[in-house]
């Protein structure tokens, strides 16, 4: 492209062919990598190395820093500190172009393909970086791709439109694009997240083939069973720290689950100090988790069933493969008054769809939802609110907060036409502000005045607003989705104690979370959702962790 861009690889000691990646040493070495986003430290002093011809799994819970670490390797993020060496030479990656020039390719979780263009055209799209007046001959490109595909067993038609391809085929195109651009290091971010089990097996087989051919592969995942079948070595990240790197032959899903969730409190404490308190799980709470275990279990009696979900199946497709996955299938669930029931699971396993349906934003394809004796399956949010259902949405900025309104308005906006805030044709701003002032005090929301706009709130305070609004006086059922995601320790504690208080007051709470610590801290009963199936799981970190990774479902069985 620009002369400057051109220089970068040569500065780094490589020509178009890049540095020598075939030597005996590791092809990639990352040392002491730290990366913070604002107050949150995503990766903290992490080391990582990658050898030629291996599949190296990067394992960890959501928010453990896996993707951030790989984005650094791919030049999308620059580390605050730390060194990246490729082929033995220290490099400074300024963009993905630099990484591509050095033979690194990345396939993102969400494919970066243009649906209305052909396979060959999509591959060319990624071939920027050098000035081209004319597009290369598409027929030749298509032939190259097809040949490349044959070599690696990733057959595609260069002339086909992306929109005609299944998710699995689109992924092949992504991989081929990276290979076409000369990748000898291939990073795959959650490559199995949207694939059916059959496709997953096929993918793993192809990856093994490529590794045998000398490509070094990094696979980001949190699925334990895939790690065991696919990887040669495994690096486990927790709270931004690499807690272990082990050979696949020398470990077990159980060990990995332990490493992932951090059973030993001391280790967690250290990780917490190093990683700061920004991320959701882990950290300070781990120290408390033992006491939490005792507190768990409502003090009030568990009452009648408040929420009953029967054979619920979502309408949305979960990939376009022949298997035709639903986001979730045949879910049965009961939440009684005065208990917290958890649906735990990693993202992309149907939690989000379950949340949307329970909140009335989507309609299920089949099944029933009942509130007490009332069928609420097709209720709108308005009706649900009016019969005592409260929501803490997982995406609080999208569904739970209106940044342009004041904090006071945000606290009552779902009942603005009810006394004392207003009637059919009037509003009483004073009542709104008065109630706002009251709730701000009660929930300790850090804001100078109730009339300040909500967009100025920090994450924790924003969540307090959402919580304060959800905890209406006539609350019967609370659906809390990821209620502490991204919050600091103090805010987490506050949210937890509010949830416990509501439970003790007899509210039925359905907690949807990805955070294992939270599951342990709050649940009376726990279900794990994995690939759209719900399994009741004993309240045990390991058992839940394994089940969230799918291991409990396929291998060990739910009970340890």
């Amino acid at each position: 492209m620009t002369p400057r861009r051109r220089q970068s690889p040569s500065q780094l000691g490589g020509d178009r062919a890049g540095p020598d990646l075939s030597g005996p040493g590791p092809v990639v070495v990352m040392r002491g990598i730290t990366k913070s986003f604002g107050e949150v430290t995503a990766v903290s002093g992490t080391d990582f190395d990658l050898r030629q011809g291996e599949i190296h799994a990067l394992l960890g819970e959501n928010g453990a820093g896996k993707t951030t670490l790989m984005n650094i390797l791919y030049g999308l993020e620059r580390p605050d500190t730390g060194v990246v060496e490729i082929g033995g030479e220290s490099v400074r990656l300024r963009s993905a172009h630099d990484a591509i020039e050095l033979g690194i390719g990345m396939v993102h979780q969400h494919f970066q393909l243009v649906p209305r263009l052909s396979v060959a055209e999509n591959v060319i799209l990624g071939a920027g970086g050098r000035r081209r007046v004319r597009l290369p001959d598409l027929t030749a490109v298509a032939a190259d791709i097809e040949e490349l595909g044959e070599r690696y067993g990733l057959s595609v038609q260069g002339s086909e439109l992306i929109s005609d391809l299944s998710v699995g085929e689109q992924q092949r195109v992504e991989i081929l694009r990276a290979l076409y651009l000369g990748a000898r290091v291939l990073i795959l971010d959650e490559p199995t997240a949207t694939l059916s089990p059959v496709e997953i097996d096929q993918l793993i087989e192809k990856l093994r083939n490529m590794a045998r051919g000398g490509t070094a592969i990094v696979m980001i995942t949190h699925h334990l069973d895939e790690v065991m079948t696919a990887a040669d070595r495994i690096t486990v990240l927790r709270a931004g720290v690499d807690v272990a790197t082990v050979a696949a032959g020398e470990t077990s899903p159980l060990d990995l689950a332990r490493l992932m969730v951090g059973r030993e409190v001391t280790v967690l404490g250290e990780a917490g100090e190093a990683g700061e308190a920004g991320e959701s799980d882990e950290v300070g709470e781990a120290g408390e988790s033992d006491e939490v275990g005792e507190v768990r279990g409502g003090t009030g009696p568990v009452g009648a069933a408040v929420l009953t979900v029967e054979n619920l199946t979502s309408a949305s497709q979960w990939g376009t493969s022949d298997a035709g996955f639903r986001a979730f299938n045949g879910v049965d669930l009961v939440v009684r008054a005065g208990e917290i029931v958890t649906v735990a699971g990693v993202e992309g396993n149907g939690q989000a769809e379950l949340e949307a349906i329970l909140c009335g934003l989507h309609h299920p394809m089949s099944g029933w939802i009942r509130l007490g004796d009332t069928d609420i399956t097709s209720f709108t949010p308005r009706k649900l609110l009016s019969c005592g259902v409260g929501f803490i949405p997982s995406d609080r900025y999208r569904h739970g907060l209106i940044g342009g309104l004041s904090v006071a308005e945000n606290l009552v906006y779902d009942r603005i036409d009810k006394a004392p805030y207003g009637g059919r044709f009037r509003l009483d701003p004073r009542a709104v502000v008065a109630r706002g002032t009251e709730l701000i005090k009660q929930f300790g929301i850090a804001v100078r005045t109730p009339t300040a706009v909500a967009s100025t709130l920090s994450g924790g305070n924003a969540q307090k607003v959402v919580l304060a609004r959800a905890l209406r006086t006539d609350l019967r059922l609370l659906i809390a989705a990821q209620p502490t995601r991204g919050l600091d320790v103090g805010a987490i504690e506050m949210v937890w104690s509010q949830l416990r208080a509501q439970r003790d007051a007899g509210v039925a709470i359905l907690l949807i979370t990805t955070d294992l610590t939270e599951v342990i801290a709050l649940s009376d009963r726990c279900h794990v959702i994995y690939r759209g199936r719900l399994t009741e799981t004993p309240l045990d970190r390991e058992a839940i962790g394994m089940a969230m990774g799918g291991a409990g479902v396929r291998a060990a069985g739910p009970a340890p």
């Binding site: 934003l361 949405p393 999208r398 209106i402 059919r424 509003l427 701003p429 009339t451 967009s455």
Partner: protein, 382 residues
């Protein structure tokens, strides 16, 4: 006025404009509270206070400046042209009456557009809603056997409001039901309405003895009287009377609150139990109804019959009015008078300075462009 496409671009950009104040509002916190703690939803009002007014004034001034350069290029003395323009519009009661006649439909339509725009529903179809209202209300006035003004005029207005409202509702329905982009559907419905009116005055409603494709003159009972002392039909009073009603509705009713909510964050509004689909249809219906009333008033007032050129693009010009008014009901009056005066002023300078009147259309377009710029600049400085 501004062609359909020009109109379509403006609001899309403006979405950006109205997003912005929410973000830099914290800087204003102190002022807002220092200034005697406005009890009425200060967070919303604050961003509609001085700065938007200032940027509107700055944009208008700059547009006149740029217009001056264009006038000079066209061979006129800019200062003289502006002076002519001023005296030709505000100089006498008669001239000013003409301005108000021009401003009356803009006022009504602008008020309706504000309701839709606040919900971030970009109604570009006010022109079509006006024509539909004119057609329905005009047909009603032609054929309804009503002899008294006091009954005929309100009834015809209701007919026009209903027709315009339905025309707007269709757009809202398409958006709510199938997520059809309202910019496109409302824009295209303009042409449907235009051709529908064209057909009506050529075939069923055509004056059988006339030579032109126009309807018969309306019966006396359907002719709008003038406001005493001015040469302005009483339709202007409807617009004036609606200003406080719209202002109140937007600020002090759950409807207005929810409209604002939806404009700021539709997902959260839906999750808060508001039927946003219904709200979209509602704001489109109100928007269309007001444009429809403006249409009938044109028929019963200045035109006194159904013709093919009831509107010289009021529906599009009103978009500029709404934007200059910063979506404030109270700002619409000044904005519509300004635009009305400018339109008429174009005729004046065409006479006195021999420059094409379209220059004033360029100035109007500059208003909006510079308004957007002034907003960006104001934000960057903060």
């Amino acid at each position: 006025m501004t062609g359909p496409t020009g109109g379509a671009d403006v609001p899309a950009n403006d979405a950006d404009v109205y997003d912005a104040p929410a973000n830099d509002a914290p800087a204003n916190d102190a002022d807002a509270n220092g200034a005697g703690a406005p009890a009425i939803f200060p967070a919303r009002d604050r961003r509609l206070q001085l700065r938007p007014l200032g940027s509107a004034a700055a944009a208008v001034t700059a547009a006149f400046g740029a217009g001056g350069i264009l006038l000079a290029l066209a061979g006129a003395n800019p200062l003289q042209a502006y002076a002519d323009m001023f005296s030709g519009t505000f100089g006498s009661r008669f001239d000013f009456s003409l301005v108000l006649v021009e401003a009356a439909p803009l006022l009504l339509i602008g008020l309706g557009l504000i309701v839709a725009f606040r919900a971030r529903v970009w109604n570009i179809g006010a022109e079509g809603q006006l024509l539909t209202g004119a057609l329905a209300g005009g047909a009603f006035a032609l054929y309804a056997p009503i002899g008294t003004r006091a009954v005929m005029i309100p009834a015809a207005c209701l007919a026009g409001a209903a027709a315009g409202g339905v025309w707007g509702w269709v757009v809202g329905f398409l958006r709510a039901r199938w997520n059809v982009n309202e910019v496109i559907s409302s824009l295209l419905l303009n042409y449907v309405a235009l051709r529908g009116l064209d057909y009506a005055i050529r075939k069923p409603l055509r004056d059988p003895v006339g030579f032109q494709p126009v309807s018969q003159t309306l019966p006396e009972a359907a002719r709008l009287p003038d406001i005493p002392g001015l040469r302005v039909h009483i339709g202007l009073l409807i617009g004036l009377g609606l200003i406080p009603i719209v202002a109140y509705s937007m600020r002090r009713t759950p409807f207005g609150f929810r409209t604002e909510m939806m404009g700021l964050n539709r997902d959260a509004t839906e999750a808060a139990g508001v039927n946003t689909g219904r709200l979209i249809m509602g704001v489109m219906m109100i928007s269309g109804a007001l444009a429809g009333v403006a249409g009938v008033l044109q028929v019963m007032g200045p035109e006194s019959r159904l013709t093919g050129n009831i509107s010289p693009g009021f529906g599009f010009t009103a978009i500029i009015v709404a934007l200059i008014a910063r979506l404030r009901p109270t700002g619409v009056l000044a904005a519509s008078v300004l635009i009305g005066a400018l339109t008429l002023g174009g005729d004046v300078i065409q006479r006195t300075q021999q420059v094409p009147r379209v220059l004033t259309l360029v100035i109007q377009a500059l208003f909006v462009l510079l308004l957007l710029v002034a907003d960006k600049v104001g934000r960057a400085r903060r």
